[in-house]
Amino acid sequence: MKVRVLFFGVTREITGLREECVELAEGARAGELLDLYKRRFPRLEAMGRSLALGVNQEFGERERVLKENDEVALLPPVSGG
């Protein structure tokens, strides 16, 4: 299945990506997707648990099972205001 992955702020800087589509096994969890990117971009690993995940524009738990066409966002610690 395909999911769309979005990057913001420092995760965009680290990956050089604004967004991309990735192919995942059926039943893959949000945390597994994050692990994929951490292996690809070690600087994400260094961010540890400060990274939050968005799934379809809501906060998503790492255990969340993803579905075809889900929108997953890698959200660095926020600094608005």
Binding site: G54, V78, G80
Partner: protein
Amino acid sequence: MGPRWSQMIEEPEGHFFALTREPIDGRELAARLVRGEDGAVVTFEGVARSHSQGRRTLALEYDCYEPMAIQMMARLGREIAVAHAIGRVGLVHRLGRVEIGEASVVIVATAAHRGAAFAACREGIDRLKRLVPIWKKEYFEDGAVWVEGAWDAAVVKG
């Protein structure tokens, strides 16, 4: 000039939430929200500062996950309005490049009495800074960095 609001939600109760790439007019936002029964209008403006940790800042830039941010702002605003029993709340955040001295965020709370309006305004900015997916980049004379903020503990608990 593009559309004035990148994202905008106006609630039936009159609460107003928006993201914009243009300067924010705090007085206009307050005028939009105030009703005859209000005795207090409190406006908080967060402003781009010329120094950050001892270094001169030239400008700020804000990145945002817009569709999620506007929904989070609306949810936050509704919660605050109920919790403090105020009249109306407005939350507007600027995106893109913000010059020194310009407002990056404006929060307005209107209420019958000042106590609730002050408290709602304070809670609004405190929670917005930890819950709404917006990121700030500081431009210095010798480079630029994304500011490492912090999520509300409930967001990154598990």
